[in-house]
């Protein structure tokens, strides 16, 4: 296949994955809403586990299928350009959606996390939608500064860290949401399947602790690359600055938990704050920012 038809194939696969993720989203939405079932004539809210179980499984299956499609789309995009598929912001978003789904599916195997399917599928749909509508650029070779093995190392480490940070954020947000219910009238039926507050709290911490060294590595790999491409390993470029801010925020989060003993609400807010510095870096600095990291192609 020629590189143009490969790129074309990649685009079509992205469209297909969009459909699959939409089905996954609907399945998870139905799963959540069907958990609350008012049977006519009865005053009590009942709960049909069998039906939600099946639709939930359909949702998970669709997430897996979407994940596989994204792998294919991402790989063919890379082949069509003859390089790793994260040379501009469109490709970065596709790969980011891929890692977010991957991080979710990985956690799904270890923990009963299917409830996260709804927010994850929404996030993936939004990411892919923006990528196609706003960020799309034709597949093309790299500018000279990006021609380095560090592109594969530095950017993949950053993407994976970002995916896990976002999952940790969703978990922390779920914690805050559930806590509000529990402090008030108690969890509604649909939320009773979610993990306990303590489990949510632990999970978001473990995700951050797991990926913090990788984020540190992403920054250091970037510094090593910058040293060979730009002549200085650290120049307080806006992207570097915000990567540093994210690092500091998560370092503060880890210290607050491990040393000072923060748990629960305060820790969740700090986690969400740290995650939003990452999102800010990705969105603001890529699109409106200046500096040397302007590879979005926009």
């Amino acid at each position: 296949m020629s590189s143009t038809s490969l790129a074309y194939f990649s685009n079509n696969t992205i469209y297909s994955s969009l459909v699959v993720f939409t089905i996954a989203f609907i399945a998870h939405a139905v799963e959540v809403s069907w958990s609350v079932k008012n049977v006519a004539g009865e005053r009590k809210t009942t709960f049909d586990f069998d039906r939600t179980e099946r639709i939930g499984r359909i949702g998970s299956a669709m997430m897996i299928l979407g994940f596989l499609l994204l792998i294919v789309a991402d790989a063919t995009r890379g082949f069509s350009a003859g390089r790793v598929p994260w040379g501009n912001m469109y490709e970065f978003s596709i790969t980011g959606a891929l890692t977010l789904t991957g991080a979710y599916l990985f956690s799904l195997r270890k923990y009963s996390l299917r409830w996260l399917g709804l927010p994850v599928s929404i996030s993936v749909l939004l990411t892919l939608g923006t990528a196609i509508m706003v960020l799309y650029r034709p597949s093309a070779p790299l500018v000279p500064a990006l021609k380095s093995p560090w592109l594969a190392i530095h950017v993949s480490a950053a993407i994976i860290s970002g995916g896990v940070f976002l999952v940790a954020n969703l978990v922390a947000a779920a914690y805050l949401w559930m806590e509000r219910y529990e402090l008030g009238t108690g969890r509604p039926e649909w939320a009773k399947k979610l993990p306990s507050l303590e489990e949510l709290d632990q999970l978001s911490y473990r995700l951050v602790a797991f990926v913090f060294p990788l984020w540190t590595f992403a920054i250091i790999a970037g510094a090593i690359w910058a040293e060979s491409a730009w002549g200085k390993y650290w120049g307080w470029d806006p992207k570097e600055t915000w990567a540093f801010i994210t690092w500091v925020a998560y370092a503060a989060y880890l210290h607050a938990r491990v040393t000072v003993g923060w748990r629960g609400r305060r820790a969740a807010w700090l986690c969400i704050f740290a995650g939003s510095t990452f999102l800010f870096n990705y969105i603001y600095v890529n699109i409106w920012g200046t500096g040397l990291h302007t590879y979005s192609g926009l």
Binding site: P138, A140, P141, L142, V143, P144, A145, K147, S148, Q202, A209, F210, F212, P213, T216, F217, I220, A223, I224, W225, E227, S228, A229, W230, G231, K232, Y233, W234, G235, W236, D237, P238, T241, W242, F244, I245, V248, A249, A251, A252, H255, A256, V258, T259, V260, T277, V285, G289, T290, G291
Partner: protein, 498 residues
């Protein structure tokens, strides 16, 4: 006596105050606040242009609103990362870190080879407490064997075992924090003993590494001109390749002949983006490129008054380049403001512009000025712009290559062009320390975050010969229960076999 007393009392007060301040500074709470503050303090540097990165943008602030820009400058908002307030935050943070980590390091070093603490009296209050029934003293031996096999440090006392594993968690933790100090030392060394400069060199020209060859050069506080590596470099060729569809560059290749030291036999060296030329801690980078149009200016008699390539600065991605050609040896003096368009195109709306960065159909668009160039005024002049305050425009012309334009008091011929490259030369003797610090920091981080530190106790209950098991995991890290399960099963199995 009374005088002594009088002067002694506040001294004790001052010492107490200092001790109080030190204890505060090295407390975790203050360290956390400083850490967060460091993150917040880094933000303005990403919102406002910084002198070290984008001096032109800073100038724009001063031009458009001098009053505000002056206030911002007083607050160091254009030099955030070298400002006193930013520096004081990270220095305080590092003092706090040292004050916290050093005592812990000594404590940790002393603990090497020491046995785990004694078994607590009441195990039933500990995590994962369980009783293996009907076990005898054999159980202790079995447990000891199992714990040893699994890498626990063991203290055996009469009727009990105290075991600990995960000592390296604190080792990794300390290594991580000490490495951060090493990184700071590396950054400081680079700042104080380093050097950085830039020079634009035309293809065919030779660059000799002495301060006068540079367009800009700056040395660290404790570094001088003597530190420059004695090399010379001749630019033999420069090749830029572009993607014809996106017009983006795809490759730059700079071919050079390098002599080190100057005068020694020259060796051919290729420099690319991502592949700088290296002399020890000094590196030569290919940082930018552009065009130097070659012109000949003649006076009325036909005598040559100016000839050669003149460096023009690129203005856009298609390398439309702007420059000034100054001819002081004519009467009146002549100045030219010119645009070099490597591939000229024009539309009625935009006028002439460059539509491709490679030289395919070059034009030199000139405006000719006559009068006083102002070069004797003593004020430093930019090489790339013309001071037209004492000059009058006498002509406007777009030249194709090889053609000439007669502007009355003389003529100009557009002979050709040469590419130029911008070399950035950097010496950073501290970066090796920073790199070592970074690698050690990651190693420490991985060790500390993925090592579970826990204690396990085994104790014979004398009144019924049962064996008690319990443990304690630092920071409540899970997995202890599963480990105790394994130990319990092992004891039960082996006792049954006997």
């Amino acid at each position: 006596m009374s005088e002594d007393f009088g002067s002694g009392a506040p001294e004790i007060g001052a010492r107490a105050l200092l001790r109080w301040a030190w204890r505060q500074l090295t407390s975790m709470r203050i360290a956390l606040i400083l850490l967060m503050l460091l993150g917040v303090a880094a933000i303005p540097g990403s919102l406002f242009p910084q002198r070290s990165q984008n001096p032109q943008k800073v100038d724009q602030y001063f031009n458009s609103n001098p009053g505000l820009a002056n206030v911002m400058d007083k607050l160091h908002l254009f030099n955030v990362y070298s400002s006193p307030w930013f520096s004081s935050i990270y220095l305080l943070l590092f003092i706090s870190l040292i004050g916290c980590v050093l005592p812990r390091t000594f404590h940790h070093l002393r603990a090497i080879g020491q046995k785990p603490p004694l078994t607590p009296k009441n195990l039933d209050r500990m995590e994962g407490f369980r009783v293996v029934e009907g076990a005898r003293d054999d159980a202790l031996k079995i447990a000891q064997k199992w714990l040893k096999k699994n890498g626990f440090r063991i203290r055996v006392t009469d009727g009990s075992i105290s075991a600990e594993k995960g000592f390296s968690r604190e080792t990794g933790n300390l290594l991580f924090h000490l490495s951060l100090i090493l990184m700071l030392v590396g950054v400081a060394t680079g700042g104080l003993l380093g050097m950085k400069g830039e020079a634009i060199v035309n293809v065919g020209d030779r660059f000799v590494n002495t301060p006068t060859s540079y367009d800009t050069i700056s040395f660290g506080k404790f570094q001088g001109e003597g530190s420059l590596v004695p090399f010379s470099l001749t630019v033999t060729n420069f090749q830029a390749s572009y993607n014809p569809v996106t017009q983006q560059p795809t490759d730059y290749l700079l071919s050079t002949l390098v002599s080190n030291p100057i005068g020694s036999k020259a060796k051919p060296v290729e420099i690319r983006v991502n592949h700088p030329l290296t002399f020890g801690s000094t590196k030569v980078y290919l940082q930018a490129n552009g065009y130097s149009p070659i012109v000949t200016v003649r006076d009325k008699t036909g005598a040559i008054t100016y000839r050669g390539p003149t460096i023009f600065l690129p203005q856009d991605a298609n390398l439309s380049s702007l420059g000034a050609i100054k001819v002081p040896d004519m009467n009146p003096q002549i100045g030219l403001i010119a645009s070099f368009l490597p591939t000229a195109s024009s539309t009625p709306k935009r006028g002439m512009f460059s539509s491709y960065p490679e030289v395919l159909d070059p034009r030199l668009v000139l405006s000719v000025w006559s009068g006083n160039l102002g070069m004797d005024s003593g004020n430093p002049q930019s090489l790339y712009s013309l001071d037209t305050s004492k000059m009058k425009r006498i002509g406007l012309k777009a030249l194709t290559m090889g053609s000439s334009y007669n502007f009355g008091s003389g003529s100009i011929t557009f002979d050709g062009w040469k590419p130029w490259v911008n070399l950035q030369i950097v010496d950073d003797p501290g970066k090796l320390y920073a790199l070592l610090g970074a690698i050690a920091a990651i190693a420490g981080l991985l060790t500390s975050l993925f090592t579970r530190q826990r204690r396990i106790w085994v104790k014979v209950r004398h009144y019924d010969d049962h064996v008690e098991l319990a443990g304690l995991a630092k920071n409540g890290i899970p997995g202890l229960d599963a480990e105790l399960d394994l130990l319990q099963k092992q004891i039960q199995r082996e006792i049954k076999e006997k």
